[in-house]
Symmetry: D2
Subunit: 390 residues, 4 copies
């Protein structure tokens, strides 16, 4: 159970690029990073509007002189300081992730970046090599995988409680883009333009969450073949998609289906997962993240609640509020930020043994998400045909 005691030797000096007042994503980073005393926010380039960004940063408690106009200025201003930032989060549109991450790494900072990480696997590989060469960590904010019940599912799979995995069913659909984009906010505009969003819209924006979570729960399975059928119901979004279905065959013979959509009008269910084995299934939704449904064929359905002593240790270790007290998405982000901080501290201390077994969403996870997107696009652009997963 996590009670806010610090798990690393001292707080990390932390900065942000993006995440300013006009967007929603920045608060998720901050509420995740700041509740445990693990990070201290000391610098930022929060906003394209420099004055607004400075005003905002000051309101967050950052010194005005360390509220920079651009990420380049942030690097210039912080790189030389004794008390300069050590790790910087990148909460900007997709097309800037690669260049900002590269610049930050080159300046010697650890990086925590939004997903989808970059546009291509080649970029990911290059960044991975750069980070490795400089002993730096790149964390990726797959923010839903800090929930304790996700790790309960993973532990149950690992211990064979489901039997051999056969079926994987995943969906992340909503309807907030059911209408056309006339007058849409900036966050929609850049996400639906290939220049700024990259090769996908909903596949990258929400589908990568599904795919990463499935990797957390099923680390032993590999995708062999994949089919992706995508479509823009709002034509202006083409060639990007606002709806996609992906079918996957795993190397053990299991079958998966995955659905992402931002035109599923009225759906407030967010993400839903179901993992079915030869003996039993588990199901979870981020909209009620504190419970899983565990169904053994031929037995009563079971609902397992977070924080209860009957859970696996991996789940209890990630618990913050205790049974009966609800956890929210912020608690999940707090775990992600904590686990990344532990990786950073270990890298700084040269503790390779720790890093080899420590679980957190890093450059590998980010790369696999981009690889999955590349395969999806290759299938979709071949007429929604089956492709071997490369």
């Amino acid at each position: 159970m996590i009670n806010g005691e610090r798990r690393i030797p001292r707080p990390l000096r932390w900065g942000m690029v993006g995440g300013g007042r006009t967007g929603q994503v920045g608060y998720k980073h901050r509420t995740g990073a700041l509740r445990d005393g693990t990070y201290r926010l000391v610098a930022g380039a929060f906003d394209l509007d420099a004055a607004r960004g400075r005003d905002f940063g000051v309101n967050l408690g950052v010194e005005a002189s360390r509220c920079y106009a651009t990420y380049q200025e942030l690097i210039a201003g912080e790189a030389g300081r004794e008390d300069g930032v050590e790790v910087v989060s990148v909460a900007t549109p997709n097309f800037t992730h690669y260049e900002i991450t590269r610049a930050l790494l080159e300046a010697g900072f650890h990086v925590i970046c939004e997903k989808p990480l970059f546009f291509t696997v080649a970029e990911c590989d290059e960044i991975a090599a750069l980070a490795a060469s400089k002993n730096l960590i790149v964390g990726v904010t797959y923010g839903f995988t800090g929930h304790p019940m996700v790790h309960q599912m993973a532990a149950m799979v690992a211990r064979g409680m489901l039997g051999e995995i056969r079926l994987v069913d995943m969906a992340y659909t909503h309807g907030f883009n059911a209408g056309d984009d006339t007058g849409a906010p900036e966050a929609v505009v850049w996400r639906t333009n290939p220049r700024t969003a990259g090769p996908t819209f909903v596949l990258g924006d929400i589908g990568t969450h599904l795919y990463y979570l499935s990797e957390v729960v099923l680390p032993h399975l590999k995708v062999e073949k994949l089919l992706c059928d995508r479509k823009a119901f709002i034509p202006s979004r083409a060639p990007l998609e606002d709806h996609a279905t992906v079918l996957m065959h795993y190397d053990n013979g299991a079958r998966a289906r995955l659905w992402v959509s931002s035109v599923d009008a009225g759906n407030m269910g967010s993400q839903r997962y179901r993992f079915t084995g030869s003996k039993a299934s588990v199901a979870w939704s981020d909209s009620h993240p504190d419970q899983i449904v565990y169904q053994v064929q031929g037995e009563p359905e079971r609902i397992l609640h977070h924080g209860m002593p009957y859970l696996e240790e991996e789940s209890l270790a990630a618990d913050r509020m205790g049974a009966l007290h609800t956890e929210g998405l912020g608690d999940s982000w707090a775990n992600i930020y904590l686990w990344i901080a532990q990786a950073i501290a270990a890298a700084d201390a040269g503790d390779r043994a720790f890093l080899e077994t420590h679980h957190y969403p890093g450059i590998h996870a980010g790369t696999e998400g981009v690889r999955w997107l590349e395969n999806c696009v290759r299938s979709a652009d071949s007429g929604a045909a089956w492709v071997d997963f490369e």
Copy 2:
């Protein structure tokens, strides 16, 4: 609202082939047929074990002399009687549907047959022609489509309350065949053998329910292309499948996905449907059949309950118990049996006008189900490839 008053001039004299003591399906037919005074059970060939069948029939109130050993004897015994059966239900394994239905029609009886109707569309077309030539009705027991809330969804779609249909999501999965078939009951044995089940297992056994219900709700849409990925997780079931995923493209550009499985260990949710339009969605499950969820993008979710005055007239017309009082699958079957009886009475009276607008699952619905199965198999056997719907 249905209160048991007879909707046809007089009760129909009814017989059954199959549906005896050792199976579960016969009671569904009887509880559907017998609660309104629409049918009177007067004859049957209930069981392959003639003595057991007679004992059973007598316990149901059928005269011993009209409890026959075979369907041939039933035809022989009833065809000449003044008070002989007028309509016969066929509740036997799939491979017998065609021959029994043909024989019954040739003997001049209306027929009510289990799904999947026959093995091929060619058989369906032949039977349709035979029935038409003799002015006889063939009803098909798609027993889930009598629920009032199914017709609520259809009425809402028809009135444009969802906007243009974009997404269809359907699933019927359970785990009762998650284990292998060692010692399996007869009902599983014949369903997993292509000789007795026909070209499919779960696609025909449960998938046709999904497809027919989608036709009821979306009568204006046609499938253009289809992809079916099927698999037998229990190898002895091959070439039939215990799991299948079907993707479909409709002629208006809508996308559908459909999932059927009998190896979804522990799942007790049965059927789930979601129809999404450009403005709103509706969702229904047969496990809580008295309600639908109606979600207009940007508005609170709404739960609509059966029997309430705010519903569309088509739903209220099919209601039996009234608001707050639960309806079950038997009530749905009762509606199906009633609607088929009304078709029979109209056919007998030569009322073509009634038949042209009267909604019930007849030979056309049965044929379309078989056509859908043929397309699924063609796709699956081509490596789960896209095929044009023929």
Copy 3:
């Protein structure tokens, strides 16, 4: 499992008083009675409007000559016939139950009567003695207690699976009378007038269902003390109540609370029950009658589904549709009517041994409901004070 085979030697000849076209209750009786071949509807006095009642009865398949204008005519017409009715259901307003039941019993008919049975325990006792003296059965249509999962709960309590019972929580609330009664239908008018409804409105109309079900589940407990706080939020309903809370102390120290209301605006949950013991709880609602929630302290919550082999035999014996196939209120009524028919057949056959152990809602259950109402009213009229249960 019930499959429609007859459980009694021959069908009972059945008549109805009330239950005509303009009300909802009659269909519940008929759909319950007619699906198993246990009863045959042969006579009725269905309606205060004799012509409408005859037209209605004929539509139900009753001979016009046996559609009577009044219950007195029904008695006169049927009493002398060789093929006259044997059992008559009384589905009329409360104030007529006593006189009609008495007249029917005196004429030698078994009776099945709506609840609340009569106005006073004294009337109940008189009728019980009359029925006993003539070897006749009086059944009471507590129509919700035929659900298999109710008997699952009773079996679990009996087998000690909950431990010692401590807490009972029951509610039956809806909002259909949230507005005033201007222009209310006849069914509301008579229920809110003490002359026609008796000493209570919602306590008798819906509260007796709660109390009887608690007796079914907890037959070993006796109420020692009771407090009833009732109120008419719509003043015209006073001195009757449209809302009441009842607290009860049982002889083992358990505590119960019970809530009935017809002004709980918008509530569509109908009935909810929770029985808590020292080890575990069970909960059930008639709005999803096919499942119970079983909660053992310190273990995952369990949801038990009807028709599954893991259930107790008492539940499976009452099952009609099988697992995954929903049962509705009509199935529950069918069980109640079946169990009463078995009592009638046993009484006719002089089988006292059967009657001693056979479970069905009879005159005792009806009497206990009226006794509970008398205690509630006594408490309420004493300023919602505690009273010893008498």
Copy 4:
């Protein structure tokens, strides 16, 4: 929407008494206080075990020299410092609240105290006078009332969307004390002893949450009469209670019932609230805090989700994560801590106008909770009799 920008001029220097490593409550305070940059934890007397408390505090980032052995030492050490604490949270057993709060106030610190506040209304009144005389704030951690949907309900009531309030139904029950207290943890031991817990167990421990939330939603109603029936199912807890039912009459004629229990074996539902007016109802549970059910009689049920534009401004103002992203109990605590901080800043600035309209759980709310407990005990000790609310 709250995005972590500071709402007060500068962070408050904050200390804690209690809330150390061995309990669960401290983290709730810290995760609530620390995510917005509103408070900085600079001192504490975290633990009765001074060494453990110091080790713990250091791990939280507090200087070792400001980790005190007792609250007296904390006061002595901090009172004279330029940078000493300004506000101190009291997260200790009930019997210490009064003396610690009084000492802190006398030393000139603002106080944030756990509930139930003190043992008697007299103590509350004395402390209120003391705080007022020194221009200090006393906040009370009714930690569930920061959820945005609580304020949605309050706004809907205030705007008449429910009509005149008639019925209030509240429950907070769990089963964690279903067994006896052999080997129980310290947190149970002190809660079940009147010397350390005060005059109640579950009424104070969890019932005050219900009562305060009802005051937030229904500020215009006053309790006129009350009846409390309490019991210790585990005899060693007497005279305190592990179960209680409270009935209340409001001054507008509304009726309330409230249920608290820690022996409701297996219940994981935590708190449930339902407020019913003449037109509609709203219902909320802290176990799924992001939604309310809004039921207008005669219309479809509506589910309202947090963060959606259709909500009332009071709800949106308290939102942190945005629609589709779950909020947890920590987010609610963060709001409570923020609102108390705003009161403190206003008090320090002498901004009486702000304080007059600013909503937060202060000394008045704490006092009313204790008053309610006194009335409950008076009723319970009079044989669960009705008492006028004093």
